[in-house]
């Protein structure tokens, strides 16, 4: 059991958990993820490392409630335990002195982006962060992201906060206005895809963090396979970061939909059980 030290509700359906896992914390690096399994019947799901504290021996994860596992996680509180917590998995994000880096976060992607931007800034880059959400209520960690960015731009789809519109609009403006050495985009697959389409004409290297369905997260099942430059790669061990201009996005989005029916059934069952309790 991995004990939950703290829980915070960051937004409607978005939660933060700080989990005791000292050995994982010791090795965590930006861009890596963990695999969690909540209980004996539970599925293994990947979640990006949002932060960690070596001294406290803790790991921070942030997740959006979308299905059974994330709903189960959302029901846990400080003092409760998570049955399995494996990590740090995947290759760390490539951190170097690139010059100017635009970091684009969509939705909960902001959590994954935070430690990456922090390291990029510490490495001497000029970091410009664009943070997008559907609506104001879903924005979290604004101050944290501001603290590690030279400039922070916020967009909401409905215009309830920051600029109205999607993240690719300010991204394009930046690319037109100045020299950008690298773009890092993390969020839903569609959002990453459109970021890549935006940067492509400018020839700016664009790194994305792919999120296919996973099982083990260690390279032994092949469930997470993605196609990059026409070659099959395993996102859990060869990634999750890849050159976004070479990713087959339609394949990724297709494979993410593999279990829609079953996920619905599983959630319905869980909700009926939860209601009875």
């Amino acid at each position: 059991m991995y004990r939950i030290i703290a829980k915070e509700r960051l937004a409607e359906n978005i939660h933060l958990l700080e989990v005791e896992a000292p050995e994982v914390a010791k090795k965590a690096q930006p861009g890596q993820f963990v695999v969690v399994r909540v209980d004996e019947e539970g599925e293994r799901i990947p979640l990006t490392i949002a932060d960690w504290d070596v001294e406290k021996g803790s790991m921070t994860i942030i997740f959006l409630e979308v299905g059974t596992t994330t709903r189960k996680l959302a029901c846990l509180n400080a003092g409760d335990g998570i049955l399995n917590f494996v990590g740090p998995l995947g290759r760390p994000t490539d951190i170097d002195h690139f010059g100017t880096v635009v970091c684009v976060a969509g939705g909960v992607g902001a959590a994954s982006l935070f430690p990456i931007s922090r390291s990029l800034k510490a490495c001497g880059n000029e970091v410009i962060t664009i943070m997008g959400a559907r609506t104001k209520q879903l924005i979290f960690w604004e101050e944290r992201l501001r603290s590690i960015s030279h400039q922070l731009i916020i967009t909401t789809d409905d215009g309830s906060y920051g600029r109205k519109g999607v993240v690719t609009v300010p991204l394009k403006e930046l690319l037109e206005a100045r020299k950008v050495d690298r773009v890092i985009a993390i969020g839903p697959a569609v959002m990453m895809k459109f970021c890549c389409l935006t940067t492509k004409p400018f020839g700016v290297s664009t790194i994305v963090s792919l999120n296919p369905i996973m099982v083990d997260g260690t390279g032994m099942c092949g469930c997470c396979r993605v196609s990059v430059e026409g070659e099959t790669r395993f996102a859990c061990v060869d990634g999750p970061d890849f050159d976004g201009h070479k990713v087959d996005w339609d394949l990724l989005m297709n494979r993410q939909r593999a279990y829609l029916e079953e996920e619905r059934k599983s959630l319905e069952l869980w909700e009926t059980k939860a209601l009875k309790k």
Binding site: E23, V24, K27, R37, E41, G42, E43, R44, T68, T69, L83, N84, F85, V86, G87, P88, L89, V215, D216, T218, G219, M220, C221, G222, C223, R225, V226, S227, T232, V237, L251, N254, R255, R257, A258, Y259, E262, E263, K265, S266, L269, W270
Partner: protein, 468 residues
């Protein structure tokens, strides 16, 4: 001198679940001997003066001795004899390829009726599980010798090495990447061939010897081999298996509905998808399933597919039945259960429906040419034989190779061009000081008993290294 002993050539058959029934459930297929059957089979053993059978067993089980104990009805003694060299008998008795190991060299095999050593071993191990008080009496009581061993992987190689070292007084920690111990025994081999509570009981036995198993620990990630050596541990035994799946690399292979055998079996066995939605992990099995490959893994995947509710299961294999690497017993079981063999057939690409799911596979026929380097006749494509088969689920069972996580994070560990770790076959030593390796990681995909043999030899050599 004339043969005086009357030889009985009637092998006592193994009771099995009926094919028509078992093809739809995950309960164990082979039901095991009852006491009378075990004694009857045991009494066929002629107690050879120079028993070949022992040499056929990679862990050197004293076969005639334990069989004699069975004949005499002294089960605790049979347990003691087996367990003095084999820490996982309930597993070996079920999944060892006995026909190419101990039973192949049994004196009675010349007459076509070797002693059913595996079945007897299973009987003894199952008897022990039903009598836990015996295990209590035979508990390992040794004092620690002060040496600490780290073992990577809790499959048969790791468990065997751990048990042997613990019996010698080492303080052993196993690091396992998954959330359950057992390696392929847990995530790969299906419940109906090797029930998971039996694997768990054998793992518990190893733990009872004082071995600590740390689950959720991916070595190379949470700590490297070098960090283990610099930290608490005097030596490391690498037994991470060969778990990375291979694909066909043909168009359409990433469509929804196409699984590697590892994913298909992991979802089914480790994650218990056959009990979805009671368990959260789903699996999709359609009406027309195609399994590609001809080994034991392909048989397991086909038989799982039937049990998960598949309409038809076709096994597509590019050579003929003679060349199939699967054990004859498993092949027969699969056929009896209704798996349809499509031999001398190879897929060329997969075809998708409008929602990105696989809906058909295009194949062509093969014929056999001259023998290749493996000694098997090489399959050659027959031109103009293309045909399309409707499928909604495909399992690619082409084999596995070593996972690169450990080699790529370990300084000075030599690997072969196949990605296996170079290790001395006799003692498991690698190119790196204080690091041993054995099992599938050293040999490529092999068998449970060969992995156990490697674990045993490595334990002996590690002990010699520290004692000598």
């Amino acid at each position: 001198m004339a043969e005086k002993i009357k030889i009985n050539l009637n092998r006592v058959p193994m009771p099995k679940q009926e094919a028509a029934v078992r093809r739809r459930n995950f309960n164990e297929v082979a039901l095991g001997y009852r006491e009378q059957q075990a004694v009857e089979e045991a009494s066929r053993c002629i107690q050879c003066k120079k028993p070949n059978c022992i040499k056929g067993c990679p862990v050197g089980v004293n076969i005639p001795e334990f069989i004699r104990a069975v004949c005499e009805g002294d089960m605790p003694e049979a347990v003691r004899i087996i367990k003095s060299t084999n820490s996982l008998p309930a597993i070996c008795g079920r999944v060892c390829p006995q026909e190419t190991q101990c039973e192949m060299v049994c004196a009675l095999n010349k007459k076509g009726a070797p002693i059913a050593i595996g079945r007897l071993e299973r009987y003894v191990a199952d008897w022990e599980r039903a009598h836990p008080e015996i295990a209590e009496r035979q508990k390992n009581r040794v004092t620690f010798n002060g040496k600490k061993m780290a073992i990577v992987g809790s499959g048969p190689a790791g468990l065997t090495c751990a048990a042997d070292l613990a019996k010698l007084g080492y303080e052993v920690t196993i690091f396992e990447a998954l959330h359950v111990a057992g390696g392929v025994l847990t995530y790969g081999i299906p419940e109906f061939r090797l029930p998971k509570d039996i694997v768990q009981a054998e793992v518990d036995y190893v733990k009872s010897l004082g071995v600590d198993i740390k689950l959720d620990h991916v070595i190379g990630k949470i700590a490297t081999v070098d960090e283990l050596l610099q930290g608490n541990y005097d030596a490391v035994f690498l037994a991470p298996g060969a778990g990375a799946p291979m694909f066909l690399n043909i168009p359409g292979e990433n469509l929804i509905g196409i699984y590697s055998a590892n994913e298909f079996l992991t979802r089914t066995n480790l994650m218990k998808a056959y009990r979805f939605p009671e368990y959260d992990t789903p699996i999709k099995v359609g009406r027309n399933v195609a399994v590609i490959g001809g080994g034991n893994v392909a048989m397991d995947a086909s038989r799982c597919a039937l049990r998960l509710g598949a309409g038809k299961v076709h096994l597509i294999y590019r050579r003929s039945e003679v060349e199939m690497p699967a054990r004859a017993e498993e092949r027969d079981n699969a056929k009896e259960e209704g798996v349809i063999f499509k031999l001398l057939t190879n897929p060329s690409h997969f075809i998708e429906d409008e929602s990105g799911k696989v809906k058909a596979v295009e194949c062509y026929e093969m014929e056999l040419g001259e023998p290749d380097e493996s000694g098997r006749r090489r399959p050659i494509r027959k031109p103009g034989t293309e045909f399309t088969m409707p499928v909604d689920t495909v399992v690619v069972a082409l084999g596995t190779r070593p996972n690169p996580i450990i080699p790529s994070t370990t300084e000075g560990l030599e690997v072969t061009k196949w990605g296996t770790v170079k290790a001395d076959e006799d003692n498991g030593r690698t190119s790196k000081d204080r690091v041993w390796c054995g099992g599938d990681m050293a040999t490529g995909a092999a068998t449970v008993i060969s992995a156990m043999g490697a674990g045993k030899r490595a334990a002996a050599n590690i002990n010699a290294y520290f004692e000598g």
